[in-house]
Assembly symmetry: D2
Homo-oligomer: 431 residues x 4
Amino acid sequence: MQQPQLLHEEKVFKDPVHRYVHVREKLIWDLINSPEFQRLRRIRQLGTSFFTFHGGEHSRFNHSLGVYEIMRRILETFEGRIQLSYEEKLLCLCAALLHDVGHGPFSHSFEKVFRYHHEDWTRAILLGDTQINRILRRMGDDFPKRVAEVIAKTYDNKLIVSLISSQIDADRMDYLLRDAYYTGVNYGNFEIERILRVMRPHDEGIVFKFSGMHAVEDYIMSRYQMYWQVYFHPVTRSAEVVLRKIFQRAKELFAKGYSFAQEPVLLLPFLTDKVNLSDYLSLDESVILFYMQMWRKESDPILKDLCSRFLDRNLFKYVEYNPRDYRLLQELKQEFQAAGIDPMYYLEVDTTSDLPYDFYRAGEEEERIPIMLLMPSGELVELSQKSEIVEAISGKRRFDYKLYFPMDKVLALPEDVSGKLRERLGVMEDA
Amino acid sequence: MQQPQLLHEEKVFKDPVHRYVHVREKLIWDLINSPEFQRLRRIRQLGTSFFTFHGGEHSRFNHSLGVYEIMRRILETFEGRIQLSYEEKLLCLCAALLHDVGHGPFSHSFEKVFRYHHEDWTRAILLGDTQINRILRRMGDDFPKRVAEVIAKTYDNKLIVSLISSQIDADRMDYLLRDAYYTGVNYGNFEIERILRVMRPHDEGIVFKFSGMHAVEDYIMSRYQMYWQVYFHPVTRSAEVVLRKIFQRAKELFAKGYSFAQEPVLLLPFLTDKVNLSDYLSLDESVILFYMQMWRKESDPILKDLCSRFLDRNLFKYVEYNPRDYRLLQELKQEFQAAGIDPMYYLEVDTTSDLPYDFYRAGEEEERIPIMLLMPSGELVELSQKSEIVEAISGKRRFDYKLYFPMDKVLALPEDVSGKLRERLGVMEDA
Amino acid sequence: MQQPQLLHEEKVFKDPVHRYVHVREKLIWDLINSPEFQRLRRIRQLGTSFFTFHGGEHSRFNHSLGVYEIMRRILETFEGRIQLSYEEKLLCLCAALLHDVGHGPFSHSFEKVFRYHHEDWTRAILLGDTQINRILRRMGDDFPKRVAEVIAKTYDNKLIVSLISSQIDADRMDYLLRDAYYTGVNYGNFEIERILRVMRPHDEGIVFKFSGMHAVEDYIMSRYQMYWQVYFHPVTRSAEVVLRKIFQRAKELFAKGYSFAQEPVLLLPFLTDKVNLSDYLSLDESVILFYMQMWRKESDPILKDLCSRFLDRNLFKYVEYNPRDYRLLQELKQEFQAAGIDPMYYLEVDTTSDLPYDFYRAGEEEERIPIMLLMPSGELVELSQKSEIVEAISGKRRFDYKLYFPMDKVLALPEDVSGKLRERLGVMEDA
Amino acid sequence: MQQPQLLHEEKVFKDPVHRYVHVREKLIWDLINSPEFQRLRRIRQLGTSFFTFHGGEHSRFNHSLGVYEIMRRILETFEGRIQLSYEEKLLCLCAALLHDVGHGPFSHSFEKVFRYHHEDWTRAILLGDTQINRILRRMGDDFPKRVAEVIAKTYDNKLIVSLISSQIDADRMDYLLRDAYYTGVNYGNFEIERILRVMRPHDEGIVFKFSGMHAVEDYIMSRYQMYWQVYFHPVTRSAEVVLRKIFQRAKELFAKGYSFAQEPVLLLPFLTDKVNLSDYLSLDESVILFYMQMWRKESDPILKDLCSRFLDRNLFKYVEYNPRDYRLLQELKQEFQAAGIDPMYYLEVDTTSDLPYDFYRAGEEEERIPIMLLMPSGELVELSQKSEIVEAISGKRRFDYKLYFPMDKVLALPEDVSGKLRERLGVMEDA
């Protein structure tokens, strides 16, 4: 292992959320300046949310620095409370900084259509032939692997894993604060200083002094509100639906041998399902948006229409949908088809759900590590046993179903057909 | 003239700077939803500043809504003080909303290389075959032209022009506050509520009650600080230099008949100097960034290198430059050439200057309308005659000259050549 | 009724919470400048909370202006939605401004000991021989009475009453925001603009559009957090306990004919239970604090000690107390007595409780008007039926019991007595 | 010297300006809890400013904690840059915390009339028979004296003195930020984090890296604005004039043997000019306000009237005054006298002046230590030589003269007398 190096002088990034992001280690500085990390500047943190909250245009670069900074501050509060080696600290910092490095553009939709997981790309970037890998290896040949393990939650130190992946970790704390700041929505605010003050290291993961329970409650409530107010906003989801349909259509056209005016070179690896690391790293939001510009001039009416909708924010309208009403959906599909509106691309149910907080339920999928309170007696007690507010929402998954379709197309139908369809959809006029 | 329509219910945009942007007119709502206005989401307000201040990723869409909102509030304060017709108010609101609609991606650099003015495109968008033109024409056939005149400062109502183009107008007030908010820099803050409270309509343009002079001073100082702290930051300018060189190289290669791996379709109109409105509207930052991705894989070493630099933020280093030292520059060019580093692309003086405030100087180019104070006596007095702070900086143009070059290329030269060059450049080591 | 007058020009107060407080009516302006209203500058909004949160030093004057300003904004949002007469609007504004005008210094403790209700004094100030009464009567002879009725919740327009006294009204909204701002505690923040946007007038009181339910939830949670984090903070309550004991001791001494070094002239009316309006209006916090300065030099050891404790913030310590453990309390009293520490003044159980939100329960004491949501269908639904978070906490009264005593006095006892007492109290050492 | 003690666990105060005030030393904790320091809770930081800005009700306790916290952070940035002994650091912290401990109520006016300097009382509290002295002496017998010397600027380490008393020190930085926060005025904001980052220790006092010059400029401008917008606000000064007149009248009456309804016990030492430390420590704002309550019921019409004016905020009106117009003043005095309004108490010129920044001028009274910039070359350069903005205002003392008088009394005169007087005063009507 090469001796870790400090910078001559601490460097800082001006950050509106944390005031300054402080960097003292040359390793961190070099990681930030690697091409793979700089690429995150070209991928927005909130995907299509900017269509709903125009301020939400910040990148994953922005957020990743924030997570790093929170981790740095957590480690500072641990001083004198737990003995972490210099290497372990760096491990925490690197994992915080790089936890999102494998994200692609509009991940949510793109991954669904092209069937991959950004987590796998994160691992590939850490372990493959990249600048990041070379920088990390300065700390030892297995250091990149250890960083990958921390991010994948398979690292054997539970405390370290919990700092970046638990129900209250550096990642979540940063994005709630940051997304609230940029969108201008108040809900995401909570007192991070207070939470950092009551956080204590423990073998099983971070725990929180009982005296700070209300600050933790407040954080849980912020999270809950941000999910329903911002992350799951129906307009944002409408843009995601349109986006998925674009990818789906391009994929279908390509599969059918459709001839594009100009070959979509940077997407070919995805269309042919032969993506290598270098292909993946060339992908960012500008690539997707560029092809939309090209495709809005294509001859295929569906691809053309969908791309224009996305670029011009002419999104789908939505109505509430009852998932038990499966027959209605089937009938609507037939009626859309009959009216000449392809239901494959123009009628879609979008489901979303959130579990605001959960205690541990052995054996269930997606087990969640509960938040533990450290009582004055030294005992650990699970949060929902002390907080009635958290108790009220814990373990309750809430669902939301909406049916999306292009209202303008429905309105453009002959009056009787249109009227009937709108009656079925439950939308009498365009609000 | 079609009767103007109000929305059923006021619509709002959540905005972190002004809390809410309020829209009551259907006309404004439709303009915001036009493709030409939505395009502004794909053009950043601060160009390359995000390389220096990572928070500065917000779009011109964002800012344009803000200017509109400030204008709306100004008109509100005018109620009962001046008689503006409903049409004139709409004129103000439209001009505020659309004043930047002709901006292209990285305008500063792109316009320089491809020799056009975004102001001309703004006019073309307002008057040409666009959705915006069709919407504006609802207010009468000459309404688009009147909006264009207000933006071009040729409209004959001085008051209306001054609201959008003077030394303290809706545009400047929004961008100072907004850029400060997103970058996290404090300097741009001033008390806009106070300024709106002391603003008074006057035949010659807006004036300010003397009792609010300190708020105006504070605004002028904010502007001064933002220019030197943010807008002219040397790292941002370095990115602009690299960007200009990319465009310049692409243009040169194209002129020479260089064969690109894939034809840069969306840039062809610019490279051949035959741009029509539709071509221009297809241009946005994603197009530029896409071609950088393509070009970083081109065979031309200069284009390839410059694109990688921009995408990976491996920018040029800078040293102070004395503009009188022209001979030094000539010699350096020769030395760069001799060392195999093309000075045309790798050695550049960048000059910037700012005139923080000026009173009127008849006959001078770029005449500035002075800020007038309304004294208790009713008399108008020019700001710098009352404020010694403003007096101190008014009319004083401040310049900054920097010499940019790629330090890594210099360091990669044989040691003696490198050492000599660095001595000439005045940089002994890479900080 | 005299014709209401507008000010020549709107006046404003700079306010850190609402930016500006706007006054247009001469009536409001004159009320603010009346001696009875100015007196509120000498009474702190948060009583003894400043001992816990040093920033919480703001006065009821401060808060009263804020409530007025929120009311003004609510009325603004009502424009075009409901027809309120000019007189009714003034009624709302006056009630908002004056709702706390009868408060005395450290009301909570002072009222308990001297057995009165500040509500009665509010009524007396509105209806009695005061400047405020004279100003209000300009609007008609029964106007003061109507203002008093609105404040007392007996006015027959339920909507108007609900604006100032319901579970989400101008008073509560201001104090949560204001107390959060001054103490620096984050919990009290909620999006008041959003709440004002979704508020709708209704015959039965204000209701809230369903689309704004989350903003209302957020407000309820803020309220809940502020109660437990700030208002019921055990240190604040310790100061209240000491304060009550001071008043109790002074009262007892006076009753016994104790001869004070100087007669407490301004308190005599209270000690003799013959208070008239003028006596009451002379009472403020400076009077109480002045007498503490005097009394800390008195010969009575208990009064002297208690006053020093309050002035020097040498408060009582506390331990949790189980209200069912009544015998322990009795025994402790005896042990204190035996040890020479008068339990009447030095051992006190303080109980506090909060009901964060409640729906209507007919016939119960202290009936609360529920918060109603206005569904898209036009139907009204009670909040907790839609919000599971609110449902979780509604109707659940939470109690907190603490036992207060002077730790220093216990520690000063002979070691064995002290050790035993501390064991009984459950405090082994002074933390 | 007793070994300094750390607290078991760091204690914090929630502070709205600095988020948290951190205390680690038992010595600091004990000082904060001393009666002499707690007394600062009963003395407002901004004297009578709350009459103009209702939010400005915060105490000197509040501010003193803030100065301490800034000092703590400055010392943190010095780590690794300069070798300060533990004792010197404590010296800095104590001086920061205690620098205002000798302030009395409404010092500005009270000191003028009763002719003392709070600086002398600060010294007396540090060195006399006080809890603070006993706590400080734990660090050695001469420690209190050393703290006093730092505060008095006579300590021989210039760096340490400059941290608390220079043109940019912990005291000024806290009060600008704090007063801006509480009043809600924006002007006082500057980027303290940036200033702390560019601050460097130097033998001659703190200096600032040239790269941070703009942050220093911004601070100087904030200071300038706060002085003229807040501290010298004419309404605040009107309250000070009234206050001075009250003290002056009470003093005169006492000297003449006037018999007060009740002897003003706590003011007697001041009226008889025999104040000892204990007397002084019993004095706070509540004492002053209490006596105003008593005196507003006195028989002397002037004392009575002035006290009512202060308590009810019925202050004096003001007009601009030209100091060269001395004859006008003399004549006005005669005319007031003739009209039965005692000019001694009802006609007063108030002068205020500010020198926003100054470089060193040897031999002049009130020499100011200039702000020095540390150039990249290592050279020190005085600020105004680099900053044209600072240069513009440096060394320029600005004066403001106003003439104060009770408008109501003038208006109550017979119409011809009143009209003439108002003409002389230049106020035609009551605005």
